[in-house]
Each structure stands twice: as structure tokens, then as C-alpha cells.
Amino acid sequence: MKLIATASQTVGPFFSIGLAHLHQDSAKLNSADAQTITGTVVDGDGQPIPDCVLEFWASSSFARVPTSATGEYSVILEARTGMYEVLLFMRGLLKPVYTRVYLSEAAKAKDEAISKLVPTDRVHTLIAQPGNAAKQFVWNVKMQGENETVFFDY
């Protein structure tokens, strides 16, 4: 390493001007191959965060969605993967937070590092719950406080 990476700054409240091009166009996905995750992003007081953008990364796919005025998001992802790396950006975050969502206990159990490194009373924050239909999941993010989502560093 010879150089130091450029410092991060907040995405601010008006990111949709620049980032909306890559916001997911769900109409393009064939629902037979897709799974849906929905949820709410809340702050330390439990207040919904309306100006957040979430990125879901897997080795073969990427999806970006903003939260709504009520802090809710919905993302459609290809059904092959049981875990996504998730980055959240928002006003009030000077750099992104890194987390993960596992779509089942089994998917999480395959990941030895998680069992070894994440305290057992916090690991539930990384696991999505089944939704109302097949291939639908619910995963909420709490930025701080009680039940704070587990965030990672690499």
C-alpha cells in the first residue's frame, strides 16, 4: 500500500439526483426467478429513515433501492443466493455501513466466520424472516441502540 484511500463524505439528502439511474427497475425482473426482501430502516429512536439508499451485492448481482417517505424499501433479487452484502448510505452517515442479510438460518450456519465472530445475542439482526408468500422475506435495519443491526468492518 503506497497511497491512502480518498476520504468518504456523506451521500446527503439529495442523492437521488445522481443515483436514481441505477435504482432498481423491478419491472425488468422475471418474478419466477426472483426473491423479494422488504423492510424498514430506523434510527436510534426507532424513527423511520426516509433518505437512505441500500445496495445489495452478491457475486453475480447488484441492486440499489432508496427508502420511501416512511423508511421502507423493497428489493427484488435473483433467487440463487442465500446471502447478500448490504451497504447503506444516508444523510448522517459520513461513510457507508456494511452489513449482511441471510435469507435463512441454514444460509447463516454455512458461514463459519459469522458464528465465530458475531455475539449470539446479536446474530438475529442479520437473518431475514419469511414473508407472506414464497420467496418473500422481511429484513429491518436498526442503525443504533437496542437490537442495533450488526455492522462489519473489513
Binding site: 500500500m1 503506497k2 497511497l3 491512502i4 484511500a5 480518498t6 476520504a7 468518504s8 463524505q9 456523506t10 451521500v11 446527503g12 439528502p13 439529495f14 442523492f15 437521488s16 439526483i17 445522481g18 443515483l19 439511474h21 441505477l22 434510527d43 436510534g44 429512536d45 424513527q47 429513515i49 433518505d51 445496495e55 451485492w57 452478491a58 457475486s59 453475480s60 448481482s61 447488484f62 446471502m83 452484502e85 451497504l87 448510505f89 444523510r91 448522517g92 452517515l93 459520513l94 461513510k95 457507508p96 455501513v97 456494511y98 466466520a113 465472530l117 458475531v118 446479536r122 442503525m143 443504533q144 441502540g145 442495533e148 443491526t149 450488526v150 455492522f151 462489519f152 468492518d153 473489513y154
Partner: protein, 237 residues
């Protein structure tokens, strides 16, 4: 592979913290529990390429997206995107957004009492070339007030979003302009503890980049973190 200790020391203070009370919005949004350090061995840390097909050359000129030209001081910004070892990051997607010359964003939640410009959206997209170089044309954004504290104003800035090799290279930052009198008062800029790291967010005025009779030129180089930030040791048989 986990980042070696010496790299973590070198980086110390060069990135902002999550919790920075002077920037009020961090107080309820910053994580407060310790981060969990994970090994860099997940295949999902490396990304597929996406978004490139929709980038058109015209997206790199923010002054030609409407019937007329926007008001303001025309600027050309160019630079290189490199990794921590100094290698160019080729084909990196850069997304840009900014306020207009009056300090107003084209966004429904921006209620600053400054005029919108019908000829300015403030959105740009481009890809770095084979040398990691990029260039775009715009107008210099204005400073604008925000409600963080009494008489709070943001220094003029352009938002940058960059994609490199994967999630660890992902960067969202802001480029500032030299000599801005608002630097000492801005908690977002000053959230970065290291003075040199702050200075690296300030573009450099450059007469060579300046186009005669047309636009002032600025240089702004960006360093992206690599997935593995130290050179691999070569194993000799």
C-alpha cells in the same frame, strides 16, 4: 485476508468516524456498538460490472442537458482514479450530483430560497478510461445554507459516487474548491481528523486544464481502497 495492522495505522484518521456530534444527523444514525471485523474472503466482496451500458458521452457534460446553457461559472474537472498501489482503475463508473450555481438542488425537498435553473439538472455519469482518467464539464455549484446549527452553510462541493473492484472499493465523497472560506465552519468536511486527508478532497486549480475563453479547470485525483490493500508476497519455489 484481514488488513494488516500497519495498514490500519497508516489509515488512522484519514476517514471520518460514524459518530460525529457536530454533524447533528450522525447522533441518532451512527452505529454505536463495535463493528465486527470480518476476513476479506467472501466472493461477494467482488462485484459484477453494471450500469456501464447506460452511460452516454453526453452524460459527462452537465451544461448541455437542456435547451439552453445553465448560468454560472463554467468548469472542467479532470483527474485519475487509482488504487492504493497507484494502479489506474479502468472503466470505473462515476456518478455525480451537485447544486446549481445559486446553491439550489433540483430536488423536491430542497427548500432553499435560491432560484432553480431550468437549464441545469446537476446529474452526471461517466466511466474512467484505460489510464483511469476522467473528465467532465459543469458549472461551479454555489454554497448553500442547512439547518445543522446556527447560520450553517455548506462549502461549495460536487458529490462523487465511485465503483471499483468490489464493495471495499465503493466510495461516496465530495469534491471541494480551493480557498473556500466556509471550510473552518463545516462539520462534514472537518469530520475527517487528518488534515492532509481533508486537503485531498479539495480540487486543485489547474491552468493546463483550464480551457481558454471557455472554462476554469480543476484537477481532482481519487484513490480507491483495494479488496486486498497490500501487495501479495511473491512466493518463490
Amino acid at each position: 485476508m484481514t488488513t494488516p495492522i500497519e495498514d490500519r495505522e497508516a489509515r488512522k484518521g484519514t476517514q471520518p468516524p460514524y459518530f460525529f456530534p457536530g454533524y447533528v444527523s450522525t447522533q441518532k444514525r451512527a452505529p454505536l456498538k463495535p463493528l465486527i471485523l470480518l476476513p476479506q474472503n467472501s466472493s461477494s466482496l467482488f462485484s459484477p460490472v453494471f450500469g456501464h451500458d447506460s452511460v452516454r458521452p453526453a452524460d459527462a457534460d452537465l451544461t448541455r442537458q437542456h435547451a439552453g446553457e445553465p448560468l454560472g461559472e463554467r468548469i472542467v474537472v479532470s483527474g485519475k482514479v487509482i488504487d492504493e498501489d497507484g494502479y489506474p482503475v479502468r472503466g470505473a463508473l462515476i456518478e455525480l450530483w451537485q447544486a446549481n450555481a445559486a446553491g439550489r438542488y433540483r430536488h423536491q425537498l430542497d427548500d432553499h430560497a435560491a432560484p432553480l435553473d431550468p437549464n441545469f439538472t446537476g446529474c452526471g455519469r461517466l466511466l474512467t478510461d484505460d489510464q483511469g482518467a476522467y473528465r467532465f464539464v459543469s458549472v461551479k455549484p454555489g454554497a448553500y445554507p442547512w439547518r445543522n446549527h446556527e447560520n450553517a452553510w455548506r462549502p461549495a462541493h460536487i458529490h462523487f459516487s465511485l465503483f471499483g473492484a468490489g464493495i471495499l472499493s465503493r466510495l461516496v465523497t465530495q469534491m471541494y474548491f480551493p480557498g473556500d472560506p466556509l471550510f473552518p465552519f463545516d462539520p462534514i468536511f472537518n469530520s475527517i481528523p487528518d488534515e492532509n486527508a481533508r486537503k485531498r478532497l479539495i480540487a486543485r486549480f489547474d491552468l493546463k486544464t483550464t480551457q481558454p475563453e471557455y472554462a476554469l479547470g480543476y484537477q481532482f485525483d481519487i484513490v480507491l481502497r483495494g479488496a486486498k490493500s497490500t501487495p501479495m508476497e511473491t512466493v518463490h519455489p
